[in-house]
Structure formats: structure tokens, C-alpha cells
């Protein structure tokens, strides 16, 4: 009994002692459920493009880092509550998010796509290969019209609080029956089970799932970029103004933005981002 007591006490003390205020360490929040951007392996370790990139950027910055797991739906609030200092979680740079946080320059380009199970009547949709919503024009409008028709009456699944959900609810493709999930993993499961007729996410999220599960998931329609889809993926950071720009914490936040921008410049120049993108996505998605 005595040994158990000692062990228990030791365990508790070690658990409690991590209440700390280590100002020098950069804590980076990621989701761990959005392969190949970020996910977890069977030994419980965080892996993926952004996890490796985060370590690389930390080396350029020259500061200690810690990667923190955070559910997607609490990602931005947790950043604001200072649970961590930066977000690297496949988060696209959008105007809506910029109202509450700030972003570093983009480090990777994410193109979105619709996906269905093989045999769906959505296969063979007649659209261009890719559309950029920021450019607009007749081609884009025609494609959106085709998609509007194709999605009518279908259950379209996507992850909560993403650019993909914003797009589906923007009215660009009419009134869509959207169903939202906590993680992309859950979207994939329900696409395969047939509860979803079609899903929208980063194209690589579907191809990665198809590869690993062997399920006949196929991309349909154009790839999307621009507009609601934002301007690439960047590091999400707190606005220095949140705590007052002259305050200690405000200064630290502003400093962090400069450091990340510089580190991304260096990583790009050294070819690190390209190399990691090819390793995880199969193509160079760096920007």
C-alpha cells in the first residue's frame, strides 16, 4: 500500500508541477486529425506536413517549441485565451478569420475539391479543372451553376468552421443541405458509410483517405481556390492589439509574427517547405 501511495503522490506532483509560465517557449496548436496536414500515428505521436514544418520553423527561429493538440472547433478561441501562441492546422488565411486573429504569410496552398464514392451520379460533372473564385468571369459562373444543380437535394458533408463550410453556405452554389462534423476523419467515415452523398474538403484530404483506406473515393468537379477559400494556409497568431500593443504580451505577439514570417522566408529559400510538401502531399504545394 505504501508503495502505491508514494507512486500516486509522485504522479500527482509531477502532473501538478507543469503549471508554468514559460515565456520563452513557443507553443503551437494543431489538430492532429487532418491528414496529411497533421495527424497522429499509432504511437500517439503527432505527424504530418505541418508538424515537421513547425519543428523546422522553430529551428530557424531558434527558440524552444512545444506542439499542443487542440480540437478544431476550439482552435481560434484557445489561441485567444493563450492556451498556445500559434496555430498550424491547415488553417486558410481568410478575411473572416483576420477579424479576430492575424496570419503569417502563407506557407502552403490548399485547393479544395468535392468528393463522392465511386458510382455516384455526380461523377463526370462537366466543369473546368479548376476555378478561382477571386477571378470570377463567365467560366466560373457557369461552373458554379453546374455545381448548384448537381448538389441540389444532396447531403453535403464538411468539417465545422472551415472555409469549405463557409463556401457551401455562401449561396454561391444555391441552398445546400450541409451537414458538419467535428473532424475530417469523421467526414470521411460518413462519406464511406453512405450517410453523405458528397463531401467538400482539401483535395489532398480525400486522396490521402482513398490511398490509406482503399475505399473508392473519387474527386469530382473543379478544384476551388480564391474567394471564400482564402489565400493559402498560414500560421495563425494573436493580434498584438488584443492585449494592447504596448503591453508585454502584445509586444511578444507582434514579435512572434515577425519571427514566423522570417522563418518561413528562410524555409522557402532553403527548399524545406517544397521538400516537406512533396513528401506528404505528393506534389509541391509550397507558396
Amino acid at each position: 500500500m505504501n508503495i502505491f501511495k508514494k507512486f500516486g503522490l509522485g504522479l500527482l506532483i509531477s502532473l501538478f508541477l507543469t503549471i508554468s509560465a514559460n515565456a520563452d517557449k513557443i507553443r503551437i496548436g494543431t489538430e492532429g486529425a487532418y491528414p496529411p496536414w497533421n495527424s497522429k500515428d499509432a504511437s500517439g505521436k503527432l505527424i504530418g506536413f505541418e508538424v515537421e514544418l513547425a519543428w523546422a520553423l522553430c529551428r530557424y527561429i531558434g527558440q524552444q517549441c512545444e506542439i499542443v493538440e487542440q480540437d478544431w472547433d476550439g482552435m481560434i478561441p484557445a489561441l485567444q485565451m493563450r492556451k498556445f501562441d500559434a496555430i498550424m492546422a491547415g488553417m486558410s488565411i481568410t478575411d473572416e478569420r483576420k477579424k479576430v486573429i492575424t496570419f503569417s504569410q502563407g506557407y502552403a496552398d490548399e485547393v479544395a475539391s468535392l468528393a463522392v464514392m465511386k458510382g455516384s451520379d455526380l461523377e463526370g460533372m462537366d466543369t473546368p479543372e479548376g476555378i478561382n473564385l477571386s477571378l470570377g468571369g463567365g467560366n466560373v459562373n457557369k461552373a458554379l451553376k453546374t455545381i448548384t444543380g448537381a448538389l441540389a437535394g444532396k447531403t453535403v458533408c464538411t468539417q465545422t468552421g472551415t472555409i469549405h463550410q463557409n463556401f457551401l453556405e455562401s449561396g454561391d452554389v444555391g441552398k445546400v443541405n450541409v451537414r458538419t462534423y467535428k473532424t475530417q476523419d469523421d467526414v470521411n467515415l460518413d462519406l464511406a458509410s453512405g450517410r453523405c452523398d458528397v463531401a467538400l474538403a482539401a483535395a489532398v484530404a480525400f486522396t490521402d483517405y482513398a490511398d490509406k483506406s482503399g475505399k473508392p473515393v473519387v474527386l469530382v468537379g473543379p478544384t476551388f481556390s480564391g474567394g471564400a477559400f482564402g489565400n493559402g494556409v498560414g500560421v495563425g497568431l494573436r493580434q498584438a492589439a488584443q492585449m494592447g500593443e504596448t503591453s508585454t504580451m502584445g509586444k511578444r505577439d507582434a514579435d512572434l509574427l515577425r519571427k514566423f514570417n522570417k522563418a518561413i522566408d528562410q524555409a522557402r529559400k532553403d527548399g524545406v517547405i517544397s521538400r516537406l510538401a512533396i513528401k506528404h502531399f505528393g506534389f509541391d504545394a509550397s507558396m
Partner: protein, 230 residues
């Protein structure tokens, strides 16, 4: 079965550790709950209307709002509240509370509301004569509380505290937002990564059943031990 093996390719060791984490966070949470209960039970029994109100406010709100919301509110609001208190004392930097404590505290707050009700019921069921007897014997308020009321309260509470323990244990499945890797979060991660939710959620269910089964055995033994002599 390879999915459940221990080591690099399997999830066995991760689930094993997660089970201990669930146990550790549950035990810490119920202890934190006891602290809350020891503060709020006297308030509940107090003759002061204002103190009553505070205690009722706590137990009613916590027991009337979904656990998930309480956890979210503590997760997002808790550290701001603590930082606010620290700033009064002149400390203006960020205070990090780790995932374990955040989880244990959010469940502890919930658990404490149920424990308060159990303690209150136990004290009220103590024979009134004993209060009078201790007055006659000239015990002061504190001796009376610590030597007479508290031991009996704990003994009378054990059967109902086993319910509180079960609630606490199961509520830890909801602290996923804190990022603490307990049974539920680990199975969620494994289910996502292996795309086999049926297997991993079933294992989670079995692990919870095992924890329930053994903890109930221990509580029953305690009940027998402490009811000796009555």
C-alpha cells in the same frame, strides 16, 4: 488484433496509458469535488439566507446545465479568470494550466455539486440528539464538526458517493476539448487513424466497464469496513 498490440504499430500501450489517465483524472476530480463540497455543504446548511443562496446557485446551475457546456466554459473561461485574479496581485503574465488540471478541475466542479448534495443529505440524517449531546458535553463548534459530524457524514455518504464516483468517471469522457488523452480521446484518435470506429469505441466501452467494476468492488469493501460497529 495487430491494431491492439503494444509497441509502435499497435494502439494497445496507448489505450493502457489512457486508462490510467482516466483513472488519475477521475480520482483527482472527485477529490477536488470533495473540497468544493466541504466548502458548500456548510453554506447549504447555514441559517444565513445569503450563504444558502450562493450554495444553491452553485449546485443548481451545475446540475442543470449539460456537463459539456460546463467543461467548455471552464476551459475557455477558467484561465482568464485565474489570470484576472493574478493580475489583482500584480502578476501580469500568462499562467498556463496544463490539460490534466484543466480536465480535473472542470469535472471536479461538476462532481462537487453532486457531493455537496450527498454530504448535505448525510448530515441531515445524523440523529439530532447527537448535536444536543455534544452541546451538553460542552464541545465547541469546531470540535463538534471535526470529531462528531465529519466522521459520521463520511460514513453515511459512502453509498451515495459511489454514484458520484460513477458520474465523475463517466464525465471524464467529455474532456476531449482540453486535449488530455484519456480513454475517450485515445479511442477517438485511434478510430480516426485506423478507420475502425466500431473496434475502438467498443474497447473504450469495455475499459470503462472494467474501471467501473473494480472501483465498485473497492467502494463496497469500504462500505463494509466503515459500517463496522454500527
Amino acid at each position: 488484433m495487430e491494431l491492439l498490440s503494444f509497441g509502435k504499430t499497435g494502439w494497445g500501450d496507448e489505450l493502457f496509458i489512457a486508462t490510467f489517465m482516466t483513472l488519475a483524472v477521475s480520482v483527482t476530480a472527485i477529490l477536488i469535488g470533495f473540497i468544493f463540497a466541504l466548502i458548500f455543504t456548510p453554506l447549504k446548511l447555514s441559517k444565513n439566507k445569503f450563504l444558502n443562496l450562493i450554495a444553491n446557485f452553485y449546485t443548481t446551475i451545475i446540475r442543470g446545465v449539460p456537463e459539456l457546456l460546463v467543461i467548455y466554459l471552464f476551459f475557455f473561461g477558467g484561465s482568464s479568470a485565474i489570470m484576472f485574479v493574478a493580475s489583482i496581485f500584480g502578476y501580469n503574465d500568462y499562467i498556463e494550466i496544463n490539460a490534466f488540471l484543466t480536465g480535473a478541475f472542470s469535472i471536479g466542479i461538476i462532481s462537487g455539486a453532486y457531493s455537496t448534495e450527498v454530504f448535505r443529505g448525510a448530515i441531515q440524517s445524523i440523529d439530532k440528539g447527537q448535536f444536543e449531546a455534544s452541546n451538553v458535553l460542552g464541545f465547541n463548534k469546531y470540535t463538534r464538526f471535526y470529531k462528531i459530524i465529519l466522521p459520521q457524514m463520511l460514513r453515511l455518504s459512502i453509498p451515495n458517493l459511489s454514484n458520484v464516483w460513477q458520474i465523475t468517471l463517466k464525465d471524464t469522457s467529455l474532456i476531449s476539448v482540453t486535449g488530455l488523452v484519456e480513454i475517450m480521446r485515445q479511442s477517438y484518435i485511434a478510430a480516426g487513424s485506423t478507420r475502425d470506429p466500431l473496434l475502438f469505441y467498443s474497447i473504450a466501452a469495455v475499459l470503462y466497464l472494467i474501471l467501473t467494476f473494480f472501483s465498485m468492488k473497492i467502494i463496497n469493501r469500504m462500505e463494509i469496513k466503515y459500517s463496522r460497529g454500527f
